[in-house]
Amino acid sequence: MTGPLPLIAIVASLALTVVVLAYVVLGRVPDWGLLALAGAAEAAALVVTVVACVQLARGGHGLDGAQGATLVGYLLTGLLLLPIGFAWSLAERSRGATAVLAVASLTLAFMVLRATQIWAAG
């Protein structure tokens, strides 16, 4: 949970947020390009989650059970955000619906950030 991996995941979901907001401003609805970008951000978060779980299982990280569970909870919840947000953003053709994906991606970035903070505190 140290090194560039979490940072890449955070930057990827923040980049997605910016692109989604551009879509909202331009009045565009989610398309395949946006789906690909969301897929990339999701993949980065998934890699971080797998690495975190492996490192937690190995031990020697100084986190107690509750902290480890909270960290994994943040990451697993974070992984649900983009699929739900993307599906939700297709609910209707409106700026408001598209913006739901921005809410989801910004929240994902925050979730990964919180996870790294918990890891650093251990």
Binding site: G27, V29, A66, T70, G73, T77, G85, W88, A91, E92, R93, S94, R95, G96, A97, A99, V100, V103, A104, T107
Partner: protein
Amino acid sequence: MSRPTRPGSTRTGVGLTLVAVYAVFALSATARSAVQLATKADEAPVAYALSAVAALVYVAATLGLAEVGPAPRRLAWAAVLFELVGVLVVGTVSVVAPGVLADQTVWSSYGAGYGWLPLVLPFAGIAWLAHTRR
């Protein structure tokens, strides 16, 4: 791009975004207060009870704005008004007499720890409910 298709609906257009933001707050506040109450309820009972109340308010606002239940608009109004009073009162108490609460809540310092969103959200909710009023 279209305007909200059903006039009077709180869950179309911008309302969808608002429901999403409220849903995130409902989820995170509920999870946070559950962890606090389960692991250290006696450390700061006032703060953690307030966190639980805030979580319930966010859940109620989410459901109301998403038009779930028999009287969603009334539920949404009650939730956002309670939320506004809550963030103002708890925010003021946390600034004037921080010792009373003993630990952070969502509404401490007017929600500064959550990017001031807890302060902005009730106004957004009230504006949206007023805007979609038939």
